[in-house]
């Protein structure tokens, strides 16, 4: 069986979310343009977001959760496209480490995404056609600038905390660097202050897979009623391997055969791992826009917080009063402990208040999304004591 023979872009349900998301939406017009690092501006910006819990009277209990590469605003409630639980529902909710009984949680889809915030699949008001590649390249600072506009609009001055993993962790670092006075506590998880060469390489493989698909059509596939399904699925398959670990993969699949007793001496999915990856690829294209994948990966590639501060990461955090809790995982080879420790080292050099734990886990980068009790206990303890210091009931 080939990856998938369907031709529609991501499914209609997903397509509907782009213009009319089934979450809250904030719209900004030319009076409040989003200024981009590329020098361009977005005169029409739509931000799709979800909130959980109640904002307290003095607006001191707001937590911004930042999503990763293919995440979205549905952090703690069922995803409207897939029907699956929110991507961090183990972490966020009543009584969870990010406790919605105590904190007011905000999660917005990032600029460049495809779940209701302006991205390449959104209609360009100037042409009434999807932006496709006419959308300027979006950076992590751009994403954070847009989030700050949303937070302003919600009437929140200081966030009690900003938390997120991977690309979400990059946003956390950018928040702390760009708006130190607006962030009381920061929880960057399984992330880095810059994307390494190896990680840029993986992303480039994925982008080339998308662009090599004849149905990509120079990015104009939506207009032409097709979609680079195969290319995006291959990109996802390759990327998915980087989120796991050799140990975890072998434990789960070993060399087990898929629905057969013997090797077929062909190129069908003989092995369970092949079948699993094909499934991951084909379900991903049902929910995610191919061009958004290009934009999101590019944003991560461009991220280098030290470069933006005279080459010295500590300069990004000089004089900060934000308290940090950095978390890494032993088997994460995409955002390894050494990258997370570089953040800790810079924070120490800047005299910042920082805690750091390296969680023992063999589940690779994905561990931050999974049931990892030690991570929960660390983040729960950190936010709980910080909440007390902040005077949050």
């Amino acid at each position: 069986m080939a990856i998938n023979e369907q031709t529609a872009v991501h499914t209609d349900a997903a397509r509907n979310e782009v213009e009319n998301p089934s979450s809250e939406v904030m719209r900004f017009g030319p009076d409040a343009p989003l200024m981009l690092d590329s020098g361009h501006r977005l005169d029409h910006l739509q931000i799709a977001y979800k909130t959980y819990g109640e904002l307290n009277a003095d607006k001191s209990n707001a937590v911004l959760v930042c999503h990763a590469l293919t995440g979205d605003q549905h952090v703690a409630s069922p995803n409207p496209v897939t029907g699956k639980p929110g991507w961090w529902s183990l972490m966020v909710g009543p009584g969870k480490p990010i406790d919605t009984d105590r904190f007011f949680v905000i999660c917005s889809n990032v600029v460049g995404g495809c779940m209701g915030t302006t991205g390449p699949a959104s209609l360009d008001p100037a042409t009434d056609k999807p932006y496709a590649l006419d959308l300027p390249v979006i950076t992590v600072p751009d994403m954070v600038r847009a989030q700050a506009m949303l937070i302003d609009r919600l009437g929140i001055d200081t966030l009690f905390a900003v938390a997120g993993g991977s690309l979400g962790g990059m946003q956390v670092l950018q928040w702390a660097a760009a708006y130190p006075e607006r962030v009381f506590a920061a929880v960057p998880v399984a992330t880095a202050a810059r994307h390494t060469s190896q990680n840029i390489a993986f992303h480039e493989v994925g982008r080339q897979a998308v662009m090599a698909d004849p149905d990509w059509r120079g990015g104009n596939y939506i207009e032409q009623g097709v979609a680079p399904r195969k290319g995006l699925a291959v990109a996802r398959m390759a990327a998915h391997v980087t989120y796991l670990s050799e140990v975890a993969l072998h434990r789960k699949f070993g060399r087990n055969l898929q629905d057969r007793q013997a090797l077929t001496f062909g190129f069908d999915a003989d092995f369970q791992i092949e079948s699993y990856l094909r499934h991951q690829g084909s379900t991903f294209v049902d929910r995610f826009d191919a061009n958004a994948y290009l934009y999101m990966t590019r944003a991560m590639d461009y991220f280098d917080l030290a470069f933006a501060h005279d080459g010295r990461l500590a300069n990004a955090f000089l004089g900060t009063a934000t308290r940090f809790c950095v978390v890494s995982f032993t088997s994460d080879w995409l955002f390894p402990t050494i990258e997370n420790k570089a953040i800790v080292r810079a924070l120490n050099a800047a005299g910042a208040s920082v805690s750091f734990v390296e969680i023992e886990s063999d589940r690779g980068h994905d561990a931050f999304l999974l049931d990892e009790p030690e991570m929960f206990s660390t983040i729960r303890g950190f936010l709980s004591s910080a909440g007390t210091a902040r005077g949050i009931a």
């Binding site: 080292r345 120490n348 050099a349 805690s355 030690e374 660390t378 303890g381």
Partner: protein, 210 residues
Amino acid sequence: MNAPTIIADGIRRFDLVNIAGMVEEGSRVLDIGCGDGDLLALLQTTRGVDGRGIELSQRGVNQCVARGLSVVQGDADTDLRDYPDDGFDYVILSQALQAMRHPRVVLEEMLRIGGRVIVSFPNFGHWKVRMLLAFTGRMPVTRDLPYTWYDTPNIHFCTIRDFMNLCDEMGAQVERATPLDRSGAMVRFSAPMWFWNMFGQQALFLLSRR
């Protein structure tokens, strides 16, 4: 539950009080091997310090973080080089010097990171230790150092005299040297160094760069 300790709990507790007495109010402190954060918490409440910690065990770090302390999971033998020069007023190593792989390197890093260094360690020159070795012909196992040679985390024992020599070699100024008895109380009377080296069970040093 306490984080794993490499030395009897009672000593650690007295040690904390003695160390806290050496730290000036409102200073910046780095506690190496901070365990579950008892010393940092004590220093924060009684001396108003701005404290940071390094701890090897995940359990210890999690306990510290839950207490609102800023603690980094790491290994003093390798991670001290990540700290900038003169980032702290005091760098503290309580009852852990003997467990370091490279005690001299650790001490030198501490002197680089902090204006003042506070170190406490068990004195292997104590007469009981000497007697055990001399008369049983075996490596001493005592109430405070209950491990046998093959499973001990304490791999670099020294005597008070050894430590003074090292300070000399490193060019560290010994500002205060206090022998402690078994309970951790300070030995108050003045005595020559050979006497301390014989009768002090513990040693507590305050060092600075010369």
